[in-house]
Symmetry: C2
Subunit: 500 residues, 2 copies
């Protein structure tokens, strides 16, 4: 965890015109040397988005003179940035900021003109590739990727029948452009669904249909973030595509640690205006936020006058007898945006999700949706509305809950037998994925290397880390992996490592 | 038309932190008075987005002291702004900037907390409603709304059959998240389609699938606009939802007049970096850009080193024997983004469009799409791919061209008989709509008033104007209006006005 205190010493600047922090010298003596302090502050500025990907750093000579330090100090700090993947050097050119992970994905696509990083026609925040989850992992019918539900148990026949019905109804209607907010019948159906499943009380007017949860994040970032000004607390480790949407909107990210009860609400520093959180099932660690932590988080949000973005991406799959209430349910002062998706309860390629928004934000959110032009295709919306209203979704979820819970148990049992002593499954009884902790950090590379073979689609936890809170471990999906496959893979990983 | 020269006298400032122009006094003597000059400069700043909707203007006392003019001068200029709809006053509060048109749509939705315009939690650019086209017009099965194609002649049965086929194929596949760029089979099909219809040469990798043309505009604005810096030439009159996307991205709009040959390329001022244009069929006037004007526009874009956004929203429906080439086809130096849509050639609620992007911008554009999370539903993409590949789209377009051309001729013939002497249809032989010019501007209110009854869905041209280039006239869609209905409506309007 980076200490939130270090932000205060620096000059917070705009994303659009980033300048370097100037509070360096004051901290230097305390923190062990100028080079280390400068490197840490630059790195913090990059992580928080104040120095966005694509930003060209000043020459070492210029910065040294501005900071009144030796040029070698700056060169050494720059070298460390490059080594850690936070900056990119090219012969004859100045250093360019990038995010680690992004660099590895920089595809060698032929393009005319300047390289993307230097192309002034492209807005600065898009000059470096955006980090992708699971990129490069070969596609497997059944894999350990997170977020992929079971395909064989979905009632494709019913879906097909309802689609045909929706098409016939649409063919009777004159052509028209749909409502930006989403088909009223679908909003009505979803309002009933989230009330039943998560006790989220809302009407069809409080909802906006999105293309999955990610469009919800992007729209909320556009709605709530003033570039270079708004400080947004995010979970660390957390969900990189959410971070990408926030950074694109110009947010200053404030990464906060998570523990077995979820986000460390006690660490929330002053000045934070948005808190992004996955209380039902922390992404990626899998922790379920305790009721006490939920109350503390809401109280702290109130004292900060901050809004909360509650990402309930697999909230239909809580296996405890009495899962805690959603933050939206507990909210008493219109503070919580509840983001849901049908990617897990239905299927990802449906691309349907929704945002339940407080009333004060609703009209502006619809305007963003209209401006973004991402009104959704009428027929899939009508089909989903019928699927929910006719009771098929509730039945499907009831059928899938024990299936996924059983797969989770299969992982736990096999891990206890084969991984004991070197890797543990983290607590959490929900969703379609789990995370592990590697007990001896020295084994991390070895284990993640073998996991690539034996648990295809599983990710090192480090890809979810944005600050220095890098937990050694794996993030493993079991939504599309069968019980036998799970037992075999757990055994095979142990065998490959010769540790069991 | 506002003169581009007046920009130079003002301080161009950031969208995020707008300040008022300070070059006022220099121009005052020349332009006839301080009040008029101040009003004009404020209005220009609002139109160009330098003073965004929601911005709270300084008190008259403060501004008067800053500018060293009398307070009455400022109060008079502010009063004119309010009268013209560029600012909103409320008792006890300072004036708030808004865009005309937007104000009228300010729905009286109950909301807790502060009014939207004052809510600091909402990013400044979304605190005022976004202008909507056709808002408030009651929905009619067959109307004169623009952009609505004929519903009765679409082959719904084939579409249903292909959807079922796509659903069956999808049910055989494991679940997965689609590609942000769009389904490869659909990109392949569209590449073939635009090559055949518009001689736009591209491969599937040059294309990105969008949710209609509007998502293309929004993505390109995010890609290319640096807030408060990038100057974007737009047609005036032009398409308001495009302007909304540009303003949301922080663009400085530079409205340029159009004539019978389309955008006045000769008026393009220095410093413009993006040129937005509808050469196939100017939106809303209907003018088809001449080959000479196309060449001049490309040459001017080259000298400005600007990119062009070519909105070819109904380019499948050009009724001249030899319609001019698309700008994308004529482009020799990767300058043109070609935006297409299936809203007219198929149907609007399909929400499918595409952007053909130069290679240098492709990867960044896909990153924006991935970050925005608006990957599209797999099945409608697969269905559309099959519809195109199997030849149904080409056949449908061939069948619809004479239908729409005939409706256009029906309008022209009836107008010649009934509107002669007071309203003319503007030249242009393409698309699903036309525009008219009211010959005596004094009759504008009377005519648009009666048109609301007799041509439901038609819009006054003034809703498309952003600068002072307000043409008296109407914009009338004939995509969903039958020949008999057209003749009758034209006659009825004349009868209502007792002018024929």
């Amino acid at each position: 965890m980076r200490e939130s205190g270090s932000i205060k010493g620096t000059v917070l600047t705009k994303l659009m015109e980033p300048v370097l922090p100037f509070g360096i010298l004051q901290d230097a003596a305390r923190d062990g040397g100028l080079t280390r302090t400068l490197h840490r502050q630059l790195r913090t500025a990059i992580i928080e988005g104040r120095l966005p990907p694509g930003y060209v750093l000043p020459s070492s000579r210029l910065l040294a003179s501005q900071l009144q330090v030796g040029r070698n100090t700056v060169i050494a700090a720059y070298d460390q940035l490059v080594a850690a993947g936070f900056a990119r050097s090219r012969p004859g050119a100045r250093l360019t900021v990038c995010m680690p992970g992004a660099v590895e994905l920089n595809a060698a696509t032929p393009a005319t003109g300047p390289a993307r990083a230097d192309d002034q026609r492209i807005a600065a925040q898009w000059r470096q590739p955006v980090q992708r989850l699971g990129c490069g992992v070969p596609f497997a019918a059944r894999s350990f990727r997170t977020g992929v539900p079971e395909h064989a148990l979905f009632e494709h026949e019913i879906w097909r029948r309802l689609t045909t019905r929706a098409l016939r109804a649409a063919a009777q209607q004159p052509f028209h452009y749909g409502m930006a907010q989403g088909l009223p019948a679908l909003r009505e159906a979803i309002a009933g669904h989230v009330a039943a499943v998560r006790a989220v009380a809302c009407g069809p007017d409080d909802l906006l249909i999105t293309s999955g949860a990610q469009e919800g994040f992007d729209m909320l970032a556009r709605l709530l973030v003033t570039p270079g000004v708004t400080r947004v607390a995010v979970e660390d480790p957390g969900y990189p595509p959410l971070h990408a949407a926030l950074i694109a909107a110009g947010a200053i990210l404030v990464p906060l640690a998570v523990d077995d009860e979820g986000l460390r609400a006690d660490l929330l520093p002053d000045g934070v205006k948005i808190i992004c959180v996955t209380p039902s099932h922390q992404s990626p660690t899998g922790a379920v936020m305790s009721p006490a932590r939920r109350a503390a988080l809401l109280a702290r949000a109130r004292s900060l006058d901050a809004v909360i973005i509650e990402d309930d991406y697999d909230g239909e799959f809580l296996y405890d007898q009495h899962p805690p209430d959603a933050l939206q349910t507990l909210d008493r002062d219109e503070r919580v945006f509840y983001v849901g998706t049908f990617s897990k309860s239905m299927f990802p390629a449906l691309r349907k999700g929704f945002v339940v928004a407080p009333r004060w934000a609703r009209d502006a959110l619809v305007d963003i949706k209209r401006t973004a032009g991402t009104n959704l295709d009428l027929v899939p919306q009508a089909t989903l509305a019928a699927f929910i209203t006719d009771g098929h979704l509730a039945r499907h979820i009831r059928r899938m809950r024990p299936v996924y819970a059983q797969r989770r148990r299969a992982f736990e049992q096999a891990a206890q037998r084969h991984w004991d002593g070197w890797m543990q499954i983290q607590p959490g009884n929900a969703g379609l994925h789990l995370s592990t902790r590697i007990l001896d950090p020295a084994l991390e590379d070895l284990i993640t290397g073998h996991a690539r073979q034996q648990l295809p689609g599983a990710q090192p936890l480090s890809v979810y880390s944005i600050g220095s809170n890098r937990l050694p471990g794996l993030c493993i999906g079991y939504g599309s992996a069968e019980v036998d496959q799970i037992a075999q893979a757990v055994r095979a990983l142990a065998a490959a490592l010769r540790l069991s």
